[in-house]
């Protein structure tokens, strides 16, 4: 939705091994894993660079405290800026994007991120529940909806890339045993909710609002499986028309942004414990980045349970959903544009590759921790896991600002009332059902996941 450079590039052939360096998903894996390996290597060499750059603005009441923190840590902040700039620039270059506008854009994004991190640590902001994640989003939305974002800045607003890199880094903070145990619970829960929501949107779309079946399926996928990724995957699988896929994406983004503010408010109102809250956000939010913003507005435990529910319970299975829908489309619907038999390879093609990075990161750190004694385990935590957590938090601030700066309500709301109403029918099923399963029935389990 951003006002970006629209200069058309000629179509290039698709697929093959080039995906390994031409897809954002893989670059999130490469960068996330590189950061983790670098942290291990530096710690092994006795170098404290990672601790030095892993900055977190402490909570303060008077602005002088924040000012002096920034002054004291100016060199570390600059090193942190260069650290991310170099890593992201390598990826941007490999992704065939222009590097100079990215450098300028990222500089502005980083500066805004520091300002937001300082603002979000002010105790007045905390009192009004406007901590860093929601503040970043709010600042981004205000700027993005009032000012036309220049193309050079837009090149740096890589919401998906930032959140995926952050999720890979998060893998290092979660033991692989927890991912396996909680992942199966998350999958069972997410599947029940996804199926109910999918059918609600599809039924409302086709039976009440008389939408095209493929359009309704694309909307339903976005509202139930995993947001934009699902809409584009199912849209392609069932050969939905382009403007229908665009509308579905707009609705996913619109409702995702509403939920970033609505879910944390509801969680505080209903006094939902953080573990269960994260799981609820994991089923109720429609996309990874906005979901992470909502979970980060609660606390660290909510971020973990959200990730387990959304990434492990939902995102991983997009390929299977896609395969089922392609099969359904060809065997049950009219044969308009029939052309392909569903191919089981689609399950791998659609698999979100950054999830592999998330699991690899978890395996690396779990192995490192398990093979160490108690004293070394503590050192691993303070020299590897803790700095990685802070670096992850910075990637999330970039994410939340990017969401705000790229979301324009005027564009998002111009989708027509029928698709909006059909999608809303799914929201009305999804949110209460998610509460029932995550908080009422499975709440005791999710509060123990830390």
């Amino acid at each position: 939705m951003a006002n970006v450079s629209t200069a058309k590039k000629p179509t290039t052939p698709s697929g093959g091994w080039t995906d390994l360096w031409k897809l954002e998903d893989y670059w999130a894996v490469w960068l996330g894993t590189a950061i983790i390996l670098l942290a291990i290597l530096l710690w092994n060499e006795g170098n404290t660079f990672m601790n030095w750059i892993s900055l977190k603005v402490p909570s303060y009441s008077h602005f002088e405290a924040a000012y002096s923190y920034i002054i004291i840590h100016t060199s570390a902040l600059f090193a942190l800026y260069l650290f991310f700039l170099i890593l992201f620039s390598i990826a941007v270059k490999a992704l065939s994007q222009e590097i100079i506008p990215f450098l300028a854009g990222f500089t502005v994004l980083f500066t805004l991120s520091v300002a937001v991190a300082v603002g979000g640590s002010w105790d007045v902001m905390k009192r009004y529940n406007l901590e860093t994640p929601l503040l970043a989003l709010a600042v981004g939305l205000v700027i993005g909806n009032l000012i036309k974002i220049p193309a050079w800045l837009s090149t740096a607003l890589r919401t998906q890339f930032f959140v995926k890199t952050g999720i890979v880094l998060m893998g290092a903070t979660l033991p692989v045993t927890l991912i396996v145990q909680a992942g199966s619970t998350a999958f069972a829960q997410a599947t029940i909710i996804a199926a109910a929501t999918f059918l609600s949107i599809y039924w409302a779309g086709t039976r009440i609002f008389d939408l095209d079946k493929r359009f309704a399926a694309t909307l339903a996928a976005g509202g139930s499986i995993c947001g934009v990724s699902a809409s584009i995957a199912i849209g392609g699988a069932v050969k939905a028309e382009k403007h229908h896929v665009s509308i579905a994406i707009s609705l996913v983004i619109l409702w995702s942004i509403i939920m970033i503010f609505a879910l944390p408010a509801a969680i505080r109102l209903l006094n939902v414990p953080p573990g269960a809250a994260g799981a609820w956000i994991g089923t109720a939010e429609f996309a990874d980045a906005p979901g992470m913003a909502a979970a980060a507005a609660i606390n660290e435990q909510a971020i973990k349970t959200f990730t387990l529910m959304k990434v492990v319970g939902r995102d991983m299975f997009i390929g299977i959903w896609c395969f089922i829908m392609a099969l359904f489309s060809i065997t049950r619907w009219d044969k308009r544009y029939e052309g392909t038999k569903p191919n089981a390879a689609e399950i791998w093609i659609r698999f979100p590759k950054f999830v592999l990075g998330f699991i690899i990161a978890s395996i690396i750190v779990t192995f490192l921790t398990a093979s160490a004694g108690t004293a070394t385990s503590k050192a691993v935590y303070s020299n590897i896991i803790s700095p990685i957590t802070e670096l992850r938090n910075w990637t999330f601030i970039f994410t939340f600002l990017s969401i705000g700066l790229t979301s324009r309500f005027k564009e998002l709301t111009s989708v027509g009332w029928k698709p909006f109403a059909a999608f809303t029918a799914g929201v009305l099923i999804n949110v209460p059902l998610g509460y029932l399963l995550s908080v009422v029935i499975m709440g005791n389990y999710w509060v123990t996941v830390k």
Binding site: A2, P10, Q160, I232, H243, S407
Partner: protein
């Protein structure tokens, strides 16, 4: 929705297989059936293949010409047994319509559609 308010990029991929059609009409048989792994390949089977390929390759060339006339941005890749034409700038519904207008049917090619997020979409 306004036409300039698109949030995705569509990639249409037309596969033109040399030896196969998507659907065989009544009376048609795949020409390679009488050749591949057959212990009794006769000259007639080879002539049938020749006849099929002459017609099939001409049809493929005509479809390619039509698509190239209709739109100038295609990535065309040659493979062992097919030609792949891909575009991100021409809607697949238009491409199908123009082929149909020239007497080509959807059993003569395989179409796959891929969508990706437009730049900046979360």
């Amino acid at each position: 929705m306004r036409p300039d308010n698109e949030t995705c990029v569509q990639r249409a991929r037309f596969f033109f297989y040399f030896f196969e059609k998507k659907d065989w009409q009544p009376g048609e048989t795949p020409p390679l059936d009488a050749i591949i792994k057959s212990k009794t390949v006769g000259p007639e089977a080879i002539r049938n293949l020749n006849k099929f390929l002459s017609t099939r390759l001409e049809r493929i060339a005509e479809m390619m010409e039509i698509l190239l006339r209709a739109h100038d941005d295609w990535a065309i890749t040659g493979k062992k047994d097919y030609v792949l034409m891909e575009t991100e700038t021409y809607d697949f519904t238009n491409a199908i319509r123009v082929l149909e207008q020239h007497g080509f049917h959807d059993d003569e090619f395989i179409l796959k559609v891929e969508y990706t997020r437009k730049w900046g979409v979360l």
